[in-house]
């Protein structure tokens, strides 16, 4: 296999890796906010469920969670898992990352000085207006560094999709390396992850800078 056929075979895997990355963020960034708000719910049952969810997610390996999402429906309900690979994978990633983002949001929300809430309340803002206009924009700025960390971890975590034999760049690298007895696919994958992370860091830095118009 020439280097260029190797590259073009792996390019499809790179695209799939980017797909996992993008879908996970699109799903987990908002879901994390919902989870963070439910954690403050008035109902102790809801709060309890959320707390269990977060501690289970954080207390078990993502690789194991992916296997449970994929094989769980079959073992529990004897459902056919044909066509279920990709949905299970994305669900596993979203539900996992939402828990981590939720904790980051919670920390950010709790770090807001009470004076901001009180000033808004006295001015007559509703609870929703206070959160959306006053609290959330400041929280986003405060948590940007932690979000960056998680997003960079996610770039690398996408390789866990090999657990479900999904053909993203890392799975392909393993396969091609074994069939061609070549180390090259791993080098290509490594360079890809490195460049992807570099791009993510660049983008996040731009966002952080854009938010630096106030202190």
């Amino acid at each position: 296999m020439t280097l260029s056929t190797m590259l073009s075979t792996m390019a499809a895997g790179m695209l799939r890796t980017c797909g996992i990355f993008a879908l996970t963020l699109i799903g987990s960034l908002p879901l994390g906010m919902v989870v963070a708000l439910l954690r403050k719910s008035r109902s102790p049952i809801v709060r309890g469920i959320i707390r269990v969810y977060i501690s289970v997610i954080r207390g078990t390996p993502l690789m194991l969670q992916l296997l449970v999402w994929y094989f769980g429906p079959f073992y529990l309900f004897e459902w056919s898992i044909r066509g279920w690979r990709f949905p299970a994978l994305i669900l596993g990633f979203i539900v996992n990352y939402a828990a981590y983002f939720a904790e980051i949001y919670r920390g950010g929300i709790e770090s807001m000085p009470v004076g901001q809430y009180e000033a808004a309340e006295v001015l007559g803002y509703t609870k929703t207006q206070t959160f959306m206009r006053i609290i959330l924009p400041q929280v986003i700025k405060r948590i940007m560094p932690s979000i960056t960390n998680e997003v960079i971890t996610l770039v690398k975590d996408t390789s866990l999709a090999f657990t479900l034999a999904y053909q993203e760049v890392f799975s392909l690298a393993k396969q091609i390396s074994a069939s061609q007895t070549s180390f090259m696919p791993f080098v290509i994958a490594g360079v890809f992850y490195f460049i992807a992370n570099y791009a993510v860091q660049f983008a996040m830095e731009r966002i952080e800078k854009a938010l630096n118009y106030y202190r």
Binding site: P113, G115, A119, V122, G124, Y125, Q129, Y214, R215
Partner: protein, 252 residues
């Protein structure tokens, strides 16, 4: 009467902080509240502005009841939607300013009028610029709070409260967080508002200011009003021993 508070009681856990305070504020009146630390001055303002719920008594704005105590001794507030309407009657200036750091000065002054009172952007901005001129900081309209001195920040906070066109303005030690050389510029604008007959209640440790600007001084200690009256009388000829003792500390 703009504000009437009757027999206000407030406790935190078992600690009684306000022990039946009654006070009324007429239109155009400037009332200063003085008293030792921990006497409940801030708590009283926080009850008046619904940041704390009272445990007994009545609160009325413009003769309308916002909270009362029922026959069983339980305090009942009007529905929270109605309570928000009461908020348009007053403004509160905090010791720590509490400006919105992500908004520039103009946005700090216009966001609530536009979003809460549904006024047009043009009108809100016009009102805001007028207020900034009055506060002597019209050149700071596009600045962010972190770029301002404490005295300028507090003047923005006063303007932000005034932008809502309240009937009454509360101040909780508006100059206590400022360096001494900056207190003057803030006291000056409050004095100017007093000259324009803005109704105000000012908790302060600035005795000279209280004496010069207010129509009435209330001396609070231990959760009750010990003495109140004309500033000249309270400051120069206090009747209560507790007041004399408090004022002696300040004369030194």
């Amino acid at each position: 009467m703009i504000l009437e508070m009757k027999n206000i009681e407030k406790h935190f856990d078992d600690l009684e902080i306000l022990k039946g305070i009654s006070m009324g504020v007429d239109s155009g009146e400037v009332v200063s509240i003085i008293g030792p630390s921990g006497s409940g001055k801030s708590t009283l303002l926080r009850c008046a502005t619904f940041l704390e719920t009272i445990d007994g008594g009545e609160i009325l704005y413009m003769g309308k009841e916002a909270a009362h105590t029922d026959a069983n001794g339980k305090v009942v507030y009007v529905h929270h939607k109605e309570l928000r309407e009461f908020r348009s009657y007053y403004g509160l200036v905090f010791q720590q300013f509490n400006l919105f750091p992500h908004y520039n000065v103009l946005q700090n002054l216009t966001d609530a009028p536009i979003e809460v009172q549904h006024r047009s952007k043009d009108e809100a901005e016009e009102t805001a610029m007028e207020l900034l001129r009055k506060m002597g900081i019209e050149d700071k309209a596009k600045a962010y709070p972190y770029q301002l001195s404490g005295g300028q920040q507090q003047r923005v906070a006063i303007a932000r409260a005034l932008a809502m066109k309240p009937e009454i303005l509360f101040f909780d030690e508006p100059t206590s967080a400022l360096d001494p050389e900056l207190t003057g510029e803030v006291l000056k604008v409050i004095r100017q508002l007093a000259d324009e007959k803005m109704t105000m209640v000012v908790v302060t440790h600035e005795m000279a200011f209280a004496k010069a600007v207010s129509n009435r001084v209330i001396f609070m200690a231990g959760g009750v009003i010990v003495e109140q009256g004309d500033p000249a009388q309270v400051f120069d000829d206090p009747k209560e021993e507790r007041t004399k003792q408090f004022l002696r500390v300040f004369e030194r």
